[in-house]
């Protein structure tokens, strides 16, 4: 089961990475990059790094890629000619994909309704310290100084971004 999952996820990640590099339009690159990030997050879950998987989705797929999208929209590098109303085919695809997503979420639903799939599995992470607890312990003891320096780096990046992105005024 794990082997099959690995090969499927690796194929999705690699294929979307190929599209990131070789597609012409920047907007398609960004959308496939999001798919790559989600694929990598699922691989992290497969590697039992649940905390990093969540961070990957929130930081990369959520924040960084939205930043890319904003800049591409802002620079308006291409004329988008989207059709006015969604075609029936597109509606069909949307509905099918939403249903597929609901099926993916189904194990989570069954956690709340235990009678559907028998006993809900519980307590796999409760054995020993959780992944997040291990990372936090390491981060706030051994790597406390790098952690603080990282926050200074982020502050410097914020200030630098604001200074560079500011509208230049002629003196």
């Amino acid at each position: 089961m794990e082997t099959i999952l690995f090969y499927v996820l690796a194929a999705v990640t690699l294929l979307s990475a190929v599209f990131v590099v070789f597609l012409r339009r920047p907007i398609h690159n960004v959308l496939f990059m999001i798919l790559t990030m989600v694929g990598l997050a699922t691989l992290f879950i497969l590697l039992h790094a649940e905390f990093l998987a969540m961070v990957q989705i929130i930081v990369y797929a959520g924040a960084v890629m939205v930043l890319f999208l904003f800049v591409i929209m802002l620079l308006n590098l291409e004329e988008l000619d989207l059709p006015k109303a969604p075609r029936p085919l597109r509606w069909g695809f949307g509905i099918i994909l939403s249903l597929a997503f609901a099926v993916i979420l189904f194990p989570i639903f069954s956690h709340f309704v235990p009678t559907i799939m028998g006993k809900a599995q519980s307590g796999t992470a409760a054995a020993g310290a959780s992944n997040m607890e291990l990372i936090a312990r390491e981060l706030f003891t051994t790597y406390l100084l790098p952690f603080e320096i990282a926050s200074v780096l982020l502050l410097a990046a914020i200030i630098g971004t604001v200074v560079i992105g500011r509208k230049l005024t002629q003196k």
Binding site: L52, V71, L153
Partner: protein, 100 residues
């Protein structure tokens, strides 16, 4: 059975793809995205090593890589916007001021 080598091969392939993007694409934004791809490939091998060597430190390092990557993207995109404002293009063939 998925071994460490599987993840390392996948990570190497992703890294190579990112490198192809950096070398052959001319769009500054796509180049930044390929850099992200390379960093994510490194992250994947970090997490794989962390899992198969039974040490959590690899995952801590991934967090730091993510911090640096986020800072790099923010500054890089700000530079892209500034260059576009100045030159009206982000094709790197037209922005070769420091090249001799």
């Amino acid at each position: 059975m998925v071994t460490l080598e599987h993840y390392l091969v996948l990570s190497a392939l992703l890294f190579s793809l990112g490198m192809v993007g950096v070398m052959f694409r001319r769009n500054l934004i796509v180049i930044l995205m390929s850099l992200e791809l390379m960093m994510n490939a490194v992250n994947l091998s970090f997490v794989a090593f962390s899992r198969y060597l039974g040490s959590i430190e690899g995952q801590v390092f991934v967090l730091f890589v993510m911090v640096v990557a986020a800072a790099e993207v923010a500054v890089g995109l700000a530079i892209a916007v500034a260059v576009f404002r100045e030159r009206g293009t982000i094709n790197i063939n037209d922005i070769s001021l420091l090249k001799w």
